[in-house]
């Protein structure tokens, strides 16, 4: 077993673009669920919308990167409105059902063969990130130290991804300390009370849904930069991984989504490395390599259960907030 490689791979997950994408999506869920109390179980749908919007705008329409990014935001806003208009007047659990269904609808629609010329069908789309990497100002070469050694393109995608995470974090922090954040948190506690104080609850819930949805769409954009767009990536499991890491870090906290995403990916990579290493070196003989790849998700599941039992507020959460049965 090569512990150096296993640890190096795990550590490098801290800065990976995928981690940034998960963090960004988790910030969106934090806005929805953590601050506003909207149970959005369709964040994978928003990520798919963002990913496909960018890929189709680039490949199908031949748009430049900035226009494709605008398309990502616009598509996310439209999707949020489609979800929110009929459901935000209803009780919170209806939104959960509608969002989970909508995300699945998106996934099935983009993978239908009828749409293959546009969405690439089940095999998805690739070759759309040329324009993005052409904007890279870093000269060719390899930079960094230890596990954080990347090519110029590797740095570029990380810089853009984490810059977006930083912007989103600052934006959400600014909003949540403001009176707007106060109204939204009030809605989480009791929307009738907030309504009785003269606030247009419906409009605030819609604003929150749009904000978190746009962050989800941008997460989809970051997610596809180092890979192709594949419909299989946007299943419900993606949404629940995002919830897992958000609860890990602490919902309704500033750094919870970021640290949660980092820990999630480091642990996932570390457990995978160790298990595969043990299987390959023959120490563990009862698992096939395929099973070894799956078992890490079992570990994640158990870890999540332990987390919600023993530290329900997450790493950054305030224990006091949870000591009340509200």
């Amino acid at each position: 077993m090569d512990w150096g490689t296993i640890l190096g791979n795990a550590i490098s997950q801290i800065a990976s673009p995928t981690t940034a994408a998960y963090a960004l999506a988790a910030i969106g869920i934090s806005v929805h669920f953590g601050y506003t109390g909207l149970l959005n179980f369709g964040q994978a749908g928003f990520m798919a919308i963002g990913a496909y919007a960018f890929a189709i705008a680039t490949l199908g329409f031949g748009w430049p990167v900035w226009a494709a990014l605008l398309m990502v935001i616009l598509a996310s806003v439209v999707f949020a409105f489609i979800l929110g208009l009929p459901t935000l007047r209803l009780r919170a659990d209806y939104l959960a059902i509608v969002t989970i269904a909508a995300a699945e609808i998106v996934r099935y629609v983009v993978s239908t063969t009828g749409l293959t010329p546009v969405t690439g069908g089940a095999s998805g789309l690739s070759g759309f990130s040329g324009g993005f990497y052409a904007l890279n100002p870093i000269p060719e070469g390899t930079y960094g130290f230890g596990p954080f050694t990347y090519t110029a393109d590797g740095w570029w995608v990380r810089i853009v991804g984490w810059t977006l995470v930083a912007i989103a974090t600052v934006l959400v922090w600014l909003l949540m300390r403001s009176p707007w954040g106060r109204v939204v948190k009030g809605i989480r506690e009791d929307e009738d009370a907030v309504r009785s104080l003269g606030k247009n609850v419906y409009s605030y819930k819609m604003q929150s849904l749009v904000l978190g949805g746009v962050l989800g769409g941008l997460a989809g954009f970051v997610f596809i930069l180092p890979r192709a767009v594949q419909p299989g990536n946007y299943g419900t499991a993606l949404t629940f991984f995002i919830y897992t890491l958000l609860l890990l870090g602490g919902a309704a906290t500033v750094f919870g989504p970021i640290v949660g995403a980092m820990i999630f990916w480091v642990v996932l990579s570390l457990s995978n490395g160790i298990i595969v290493g043990l299987v390959e070196s023959g120490i563990v003989s009862f698992l096939t390599p395929d099973q070894a790849g799956q078992i890490r998700f079992i570990i994640v599941g158990v870890a999540l259960m332990l987390l919600v039992i023993f530290r329900p507020q997450g790493i950054f959460g305030n224990k006091k907030e949870l000591s009340f049965s509200v």
């Binding site: 403001s178 009176p179 707007w180 009030g186 009370a193």
Partner: protein, 309 residues
């Protein structure tokens, strides 16, 4: 329908009776009905609520008081009817606009916002905070001044309601009575013209009752009108200037608190549920029975009461 003893009253324009015209009404409702399946929960032909007074809305359980309250405040939609608040029609206007118009309510089951601090609860009640707009919110200098103003007002109100020591605690950590106080104080943040209190005394211990009563009187002294739903007859008698009685969705009687409780329609409304019960022995009382006494001795014989009149 009513045989209230007084025929006229300074608040009333004309004869006193259910649906009578007020000299200076703040709310006027006409033909308001709300049906739940086959049940007509509210069927109010006409009612006027006097301005600058404390009006009690009483009635037995299931009389439709809270439903009527919900209709007036936009939390429920009526099947038919219209009503105006300060001359402005508010029928089918969403709840948040009703609140902005100056008619602010509290709830029977207190709705304090548990995981916000007491002070944040208060600030949420304020109006004209530009920082509640998504784009303005990002730039603190745009709303910081107003925030200081409303924080000052919130602290004053909290001091008045003796909650100032709790201002940084989560609202969920308050006792039931303190939450009632917080909810009332929060409603006052918007400087409303009409305060609607849904059972302000429910679940409040006797020690706090006095201070709550004092606060409600204080609202009137500051020129606000108050409409409250209440079961506590002691409270109704002590602080209300006018009493409206509902039964089975209708307004059955109206009048000042001293006389309305002797109204036959009111006694019928309260005792109706006990008509078929085996009636115990009761002494014939010499004074007029009140709703309070009537409720306390629900087994009282109907004929005996008639004999009292």
């Amino acid at each position: 329908m009513s045989d209230t003893a007084v025929a006229s009253h300074p608040l009333v324009d004309g004869a006193v009776g259910p649906g009578c015209k007020k000299v200076d009404p703040i709310v006027v409702a006409d033909g308001v009905t709300r049906q739940f399946g086959g049940l007509k929960a509210v069927d109010v032909e006409h009612v006027e609520i006097p301005r600058g007074q404390i009006t009690a809305l009483i009635g037995p359980n299931g009389a439709g008081k809270t439903t009527f309250f919900n209709l007036l405040t936009g939390f429920d939609k009526p099947n038919t009817g219209s009503w105006s608040f300060e001359g402005r029609s508010l029928a089918r206007v969403p709840a948040f606009k009703v609140a902005r118009a100056g008619m602010v309510r509290t709830f029977q089951l207190t709705k304090s916002l548990g995981r916000l601090t007491v002070l944040q609860n208060m600030l949420l009640g304020a109006t004209k905070q530009g920082g509640e707009n998504f784009f303005t919110a990002i730039v603190k200098p745009l709303w910081a001044k107003r925030e200081d103003e409303i924080t000052k007002r919130a602290e004053d109100l909290l001091t008045r309601f003796k909650l100032d020591a709790k201002k940084d605690d989560y609202a969920a950590s308050l006792s039931g009575g303190q939450r009632k106080l917080l909810e009332m104080a929060r409603a006052l943040m918007s400087e409303p013209t009409l305060v609607m209190l849904d059972e302000p005394m429910a679940g409040v211990n006797p020690a706090l009752t006095q201070s709550l009563l004092g606060h409600i009187r204080g609202l009137k002294e500051e020129g606000m009108s108050v409409l409250f739903v209440e079961h506590d007859m002691h409270m109704v008698r002590h602080i209300s200037d006018w009493v409206i009685v509902m039964a089975e969705g209708r307004i059955v009687a109206e009048g000042p608190p001293e006389t309305v409780m002797t109204d036959q329609a009111v006694i019928d409304a309260y005792l109706g549920a006990h008509h078929d019960e085996d009636l115990g022995e009761m002494e014939v009382e010499l004074d007029l029975p009140t709703v309070e006494e009537a409720e306390a001795a629900a087994e009282k014989k109907h004929e005996q009461q008639e004999g009292n009149h």
